[in-house]
Every structure is written in structure tokens, then in C-alpha cells.
Assembly symmetry: C2
Homo-oligomer: 135 residues x 2
DNA sequence: CTTAGTGCAAACTGTTTGCAGAGGG
DNA sequence: CCCTCTGCAAACAGTTTGCACTAAG
């Protein structure tokens, strides 16, 4: 894996954001430093970086992919109003690992927990448009 | 909500399948009885039925939507090889409900657990194509 | 009758890909 | 100098929408 200029900027921007950005959010940020970069390059690099285990890929139920600056095992919580995603540390502690190795013929290899709720800033701020609390 | 012919057949087919079908899988099945039905109608009806609480909508991380004949609260397990989805009953028992009401500023309103693994039939049958075990 | 629902085609969103040229090692 | 990576445009998959017509109640 070559460390190209675009690759490096994409990675740095994701890490410094400390957020779970989508490809196009990242594209917007990276464009400020590199106006001619293409969205395809952003997608390709995010894929490459996550395959290399340098970043995480986050597939929250039914929504756009997001990418995670933090690769250690943890769970996520997302806001039903603004769709931001945050890390949650205690998720794994809630689950009794021992009992989950198989069920109805499956060999279970893993699980994910996704919490949902309303984030601090959405709790303060009015939900401006009537249709923001879907799902 | 009118109970149209198409609505009724879509619902019946989903229920009798006892599976978690995607819109186009259902479309293929319904077409056998109603060859002129359109995919858009299937989408619209699945949406309507799930809003009415008659079926469930299943948004498994990063994949196509699936619809659930079973509306009672339960979790899901999906096969990494063939992507089928099954119900899992014991998921909720593993989690200590009490402690999850808030975290880092969020008001938590719910959570979902998604187990992954290899289903019984994929464990028997060879994984024919080399690229079947992605994610 | 009235108005929700339908079929069709076209639009849309998020993502991927083919290609010819550029630049990292 | 080679070959991975890039930018661009076009393709793609899943889903949604505008419209004029149909049918449920």
C-alpha cells in the first residue's frame, strides 16, 4: 500500500475529526486541501484503509456507511434525529459472552450492538423540521 | 388503509414464507400470482404495512432492507455466506436492561443486537464461489 | 363517487468501475 | 521504470417519485 498524498490527507482528516464520517463528508473536508480530488478516490481509499485495519468501517442499520477513526472493539450509538454516531464503551459488558457460540444451527462468530437515542445537542435544540424523527 | 389485492398477496406471501425477504424477492414471488404488479407497488406496500405495524422492517447493517413477518420484539442472526436472516429469541436475555437508559449525553431509547455466523446449510454445503465470505 | 392505490418510467442516492494518464517507491 | 493510484465519467443497485389511470369502500 502506497502512502499517497490523498490517502494521507483522508486518514488525517478522519482521525482529527474524532467523528464517524461518511465518504462524502470526508470528501468535503479533504477538498479544502486538495480541490481536485474525486469522490471515487475517497471511497477507494476508505476501503483500502479499512481492509488494512487502519480505520474501521461502520454499517449502521439501513444507513450510509461511516468510517471509524478508532479500531479497537467497541459499540456504537446513533442519534435518531441528526444521525450522528458515537462510540459506546460499555456495550460489550452488558452481554454474557459465554452463552453465545451457537444457536439454531448457526455457528455464531460475532455480534454487534447498536444503541439508538437522542444525542445531547438534539435534546437541547428543537428538531427544526417535522420529519426528523423517522425510523 | 385499503386492503387491495396486491397488498393482501404481498402480506400473505411474506407470512407464509416465514423468512425475511427483500422487496425484490417478494416481488418475484408475488408476480407468479399477479404478473403485472410493479416493484414500486411492492415497495410502497411493504412500507405501508410496516408503518401500520403489521410487518417489521429490518435494516441489517449495510445491506438491503428485509421485511419481517414477525412483529414481536426479538433479535436477528444473519449468515455471512448466504445472507439469510433468522430470528433469535435469546438475544434480549443476554443484555442487562437496567443499566441502559443514558450514556454520554444521549437519552437511550432502544438497541438492537445482530448476531452473525454461518447457517446450518452453509456449514454443510461448500461455499461454491471464492468471494462468498465477505465482510 | 371519492380518494387511496396502481403501473410505468424516470429520477435519485450511495457506491463502484473502466480507462487512460500520473506519480510513488 | 513499473505498477498502484488517480480523476473523470459512466454504470450500477436499491429505492423513491410524478403522473394519469384504476378500483376499493
Amino acid at each position: 500500500m502506497r502512502m499517497t498524498n490523498q490517502r494521507e490527507i483522508i486518514l488525517k482528516e478522519l482521525q482529527k475529526s474524532r467523528q464517524h464520517l461518511t465518504a462524502d463528508e470526508l470528501y468535503e473536508r479533504v477538498k479544502k486541501f486538495m480541490p481536485r480530488i474525486s469522490l471515487a478516490t475517497v471511497y477507494r481509499n476508505l476501503e483500502t484503509l479499512s481492509e488494512a485495519g487502519i480505520i474501521g468501517k461502520l454499517e449502521i442499520s439501513g444507513r450510509q456507511k461511516r468510517f471509524d477513526y478508532d479500531v479497537h472493539v467497541h459499540d456504537h450509538i446513533y442519534c435518531l434525529q441528526c444521525h450522528r454516531v458515537d462510540n459506546i464503551e460499555f456495550g460489550r459488558n452488558l452481554v454474557d459472552h459465554g452463552s453465545i457460540t451457537s444457536a439454531q444451527g448457526y455457528r455464531i462468530t460475532g455480534y454487534r450492538i447498536e444503541f439508538k437515542g437522542v444525542c445531547a445537542s438534539c435534546r437541547k435544540n428543537p428538531p427544526q423540521d417535522k420529519e426528523s424523527t423517522h425510523e
